[in-house]
Symmetry: C2
DNA sequence: GTACAACTTAAACCGTACTTTAAGTCAAGT
DNA sequence: ACTTGACTTAAAGTACGGTTTAAGTTGTAC
């Protein structure tokens, strides 16, 4: 089974221009062309696309993904480099997850702050000993954050 | 205690130009100035900076952070809007965490693939027993590339 | 064999989030 | 008063990851 760039784009849920851009950047060195120059995607290419999509989701820039793809094309001599890149990216993802966990905790604090303020009808509920003015929002935030 | 833009930038670990940019974009409406026009940050401003940093970490664009900051300056009539924004962002963070979890699982598969390939000295080690191999797609991928 | 949608390219354009530059001002130390 | 480093601004530049445009080609359908 083969696909044109438009069909593949639809299958992947991306714009055709994005696939052409990835091709131009060297991310799709496995791509075949028709005699007329039309790109031909094959079912087996889906695995490359999934790998690229995975690395993109980690926040890896296009140029570094290209480095990985190039190593794949080079053969077995680059296995160790590829392993190191995967491991580095795994560490990066773990760090991102930790970061998000901390961010989520802060957002949960803010949720509580605004939920209680909503019940009371005023943010002042969080700083009873102070008169309300815009500057007091800061103190209120500080209270909720700690 | 007060700080210049350079001192505050150092405290926050960002470039002074970034703080000037945030100010220009309306993210720092609480900022004071000296009679000569020099920005003066105060300790109490740290809480605003932390809130902005938190929203930035969720991937929220500058313009939406400004919307939130503007609502904070407007007072209690915007409490509900702010709560909704926080809740939406909380959902967004949970979705990001789920996404990263799936990405991590894929990276763990790839780690195993390259770890065993490294031991064997060749990716070809994975080209047998495709039917039960969780990494069969990679074998297909690299097979197709050659 | 002609129409027509979908493809091709290079090059220009876009939005985001800053950074850099250039020209000038402020404020602290001597 | 003068020097000096850090500040000020507007405007231009940068990096990234595409999208859009314009002019032309391909391939299928009738």
């Amino acid at each position: 089974m083969t696909y044109t760039v438009g069909e593949m784009a639809k299958k992947l849920g991306v714009a055709p221009s994005a696939l052409r851009y990835y091709d131009k950047e060297g991310l799709l060195p496995f791509m075949k062309r028709s005699s007329g120059g039309i790109r031909i995607f094959q079912d087996s290419d889906m695995e490359w696309m999934r790998m690229i999509a995975c690395l993109k989701k980690t926040g890896m820039p296009i140029k570094e993904i290209k480095k990985f793809v190039d190593w794949c094309m080079e053969g077995d001599t680059t296995i160790e480099k590829r392993l190191e890149l995967i491991d580095r990216q795994r560490d990066a993802v773990l760090a991102q997850m930790q970061q998000l966990k901390e961010t989520l905790a802060t957002l949960n604090d803010k949720h509580w702050y605004y939920e209680t303020a909503k019940q009371a009808g005023a943010c002042a509920i969080h700083h009873q000993n102070k008169a309300h003015d815009p500057q007091e929002e800061i103190c209120a935030m500080e209270g909720a954050a700690k």
